[in-house]
Point group: C2
DNA sequence: CGTTTGCTTGAATTCTGTCAAAGCAGGTGG
DNA sequence: CCACCTGCTTTGACAGAATTCAAGCAAACG
């Protein structure tokens, strides 16, 4: 098993060596080249992944326009969760922005693990709880902060973000126009 | 057991008559008068509730200013979940806006039920999943919609909302000023 | 090279916030 | 019963910030 995923899973639940072995039986590793899709609109999302290398963006289209709602970087879980949970068709695309590699587990195997190793149920709960906290924070920042403040915050908390992601994507992610972001950057330089 | 809570819980998991009996042993009913607090800042939130009657608002203070983030109406679960889950002190207040009554279960009892009746774990997961979906939708509406559109949407989806909640609270909930909301209302009348 | 893509810049417009003031209840006390 | 106070809503004037539309520019790519 990948060392990172081991560490991350251990963040949530402690596994014995034996449990880890059972777990790793079900893991599938895949490679993506820049531009490849991990998920497309109308796909079913039957996997949860863990980004070993590279990164992805998470967006959907309205009238042909990309609306970016997130990015998945290395050492983060990757999936369209609502879609994974409800077994719906995805509205979102997940696309590699660099050459990337991801370790997956299939929903069926995960559900099976729930029965064999109840601990994994806890893992699952914690992941959703984390997602909930994360969206809540982002939601909050829309209330309390201007686009400019949100941009500056992003700069401070994830400078690597800014370097690797094109500006028009950051703008979309922040909910502003590329022109608007350009002016914000000008003001703060 | 209250009929509504029975129906709602059955929405998530099916309980036998026996399981319902076990469940109802742990339920505690409380009454609130308008203005009473169900939760205050720095309280621990050890209960999940279900609103039988009346309704509540959910807000926190920044420099003495109320920032309303939600309302709990009858037949909805009520709690500060992040706080309940993480056993943190609450940043939020929950206050009755009308005379209300709520049925509670204590965290310890709920955890105990998880062991006795694993179904309840599923109930718990579903509740968090629902919360996650809900915030995600509200988050989304900030991207795609203007304050005016958000207000009109709220009007359409929950007209009773508008009638019972003072405008300055709706404004806070929508993330705009009371003056702004007043003008929106004028434009659309 | 010429084209495409992404970033910048300008001008006009629109929407919201802020500040200040006035109107309009509903409730209290004299 | 009336006058007053208080809290909520409305209105006006103004400033600020973002959007939109349009154009220019630079780097990347075929």
């Amino acid at each position: 098993m990948n060392n990172n995923i081991k560490a991350i899973v251990n963040n949530f639940v402690n596994l014995t060596e034996e449990e880890r072995l059972v777990f790793s039986q079900f893991l599938i590793k895949k490679q993506y080249k820049k531009g490849d899709y991990l998920l497309k609109e109308n796909d079913y999302c039957n996997y949860v992944g863990f980004v070993d290398k590279g990164f992805f963006n998470f967006y959907y289209l309205i009238d042909g326009v990309e609306h970016i709602r997130g990015f998945f970087f290395s050492n983060e879980f990757i999936s369209n969760y609502p879609c994974f949970l409800l077994e719906n068709k995805s509205k979102f695309y997940i696309q590699a922005l660099e050459d990337s590699s991801v370790t997956f587990i299939h929903r069926d195997d995960l559900l099976m693990l729930y029965e064999k190793l109840p601990k994994f149920q806890v893992l699952s709960i914690k992941i959703v709880e984390n997602l909930y906290m994360e969206v809540s924070e982002k939601y909050e920042s829309f209330f309390l902060k201007s686009p400019e403040e949100r941009y500056l915050e992003l700069m401070n908390t994830s400078p690597n973000f800014i370097q690797r992601v094109p500006q028009y994507m950051i703008a979309s992610y922040l909910g502003i126009t590329p022109e608007g972001l350009s002016r914000i950057r000008k003001r703060n330089s």
